[in-house]
Symmetry: C2
Subunit: 197 residues, 2 copies
């Protein structure tokens, strides 16, 4: 259907300007298209992040309620955070779980990848790496990792996974959390099928 | 679980600096927390967007393949775009559908809201408004709305909705598209249940 021969996939990056280096990395690229046109392109060059679906032995999911200043309201989300430089993705998922909720993977528990996903592809460049952690157990209090998180008013909420899925479109309206819950549900259903074989 | 009394929900915005006005709006806020601490806060103040799940009478979904420069690769996504100033959300969804694919809502077709969702809540501030459009039919070619879209190499792909859902985690890895497909599937299943009553 496309009638164009000059595509962005063949663009040359003439120059990159970092408009903000930290705590976000905001980038302006000057791109030259194959047809010679010059285009200004802007995006948030965000680092990879992890999102973890922590499920207990009795089928509850561990969520975080927190204040999101960008949205000017509270949200109910899966534990998530940014991967540190050179950090293993799975280690980052377990670190964020413990920091944000105080919960940990139980002895004999497993951390399973649910895949890597992007959101807001016209705004950001990084992927969210989703994990299922099951079973998890409570161990101590949350311990927030950055000075600013003290202001987010985070608290831990547990509910049956099926109840959380029923809350999609109601109290749960974050696309990373929705993706994580539905992918975990599918994975757990497949695992139960496997046990029946 | 929270031990903090000074919360961001009660912060005062001391000053707002627009680091970039267009085509993105990148904002730096100086916030004063209730405990007197001053915090610098950065986010993309993006406008609302729409995502549409176009389903044909025979159960196919209409998707868009396009090059995403931020990800440096092609993606397979639901038609989506930014809501214009003062534009009705449903009108924006149908406009984006036609612009990006050439497909339209068929006579007697319905546009149904699937809810409003956020993604990347530490990066962005806007919501994605999801719609189911069914049945849809092909009518002419795509007609891209902005000069830059000519470079995105967009093309239309149709496949059975259940096949698209099976592609989640494979060729489909965008969280807005995943949310839209799964919410549409749930909505269509409920509608079929209703018809059986």
């Amino acid at each position: 259907m496309s009638n164009w021969t000059a595509k962005m996939r063949n663009a040359i990056v003439l120059d990159t300007h970092v408009l903000l280096a930290a705590p976000k990395r905001w980038v302006h690229e000057e791109l030259r298209m194959p047809d010679g046109a010059d285009i200004d392109w802007y995006y948030t060059d965000n680092p990879p992040s992890v999102v973890v679906v922590p499920v207990t032995g009795s089928g509850d999911v561990v969520l975080v309620r927190q204040y999101r200043h960008n949205l000017r309201r509270d949200t109910l989300e899966l534990p998530a955070g940014i991967v540190a430089q050179d950090e293993d993705l799975g280690a980052a998922a377990l670190r964020e779980l413990t920091e944000e909720t105080g919960w940990v993977l139980a002895d004999g528990g497993e951390l399973v990848s649910l895949g890597s996903y992007y959101a807001r592809p016209s705004e950001t460049a990084g992927y969210s790496h989703l994990f299922l952690a099951a079973p998890v157990e409570a161990r101590g209090a949350a311990k927030l990792d950055t000075e600013i998180e003290q202001y987010f008013d985070m608290s831990t909420v547990t509910m049956p996974l099926r109840e959380a899925i029923a809350e999609i479109g109601h109290t749960i309206d974050g696309l990373e959390t929705i993706g994580g819950l539905l992918l975990a549900q599918r994975r757990l259903a497949l695992a139960r099928l496997g046990e029946q074989d």
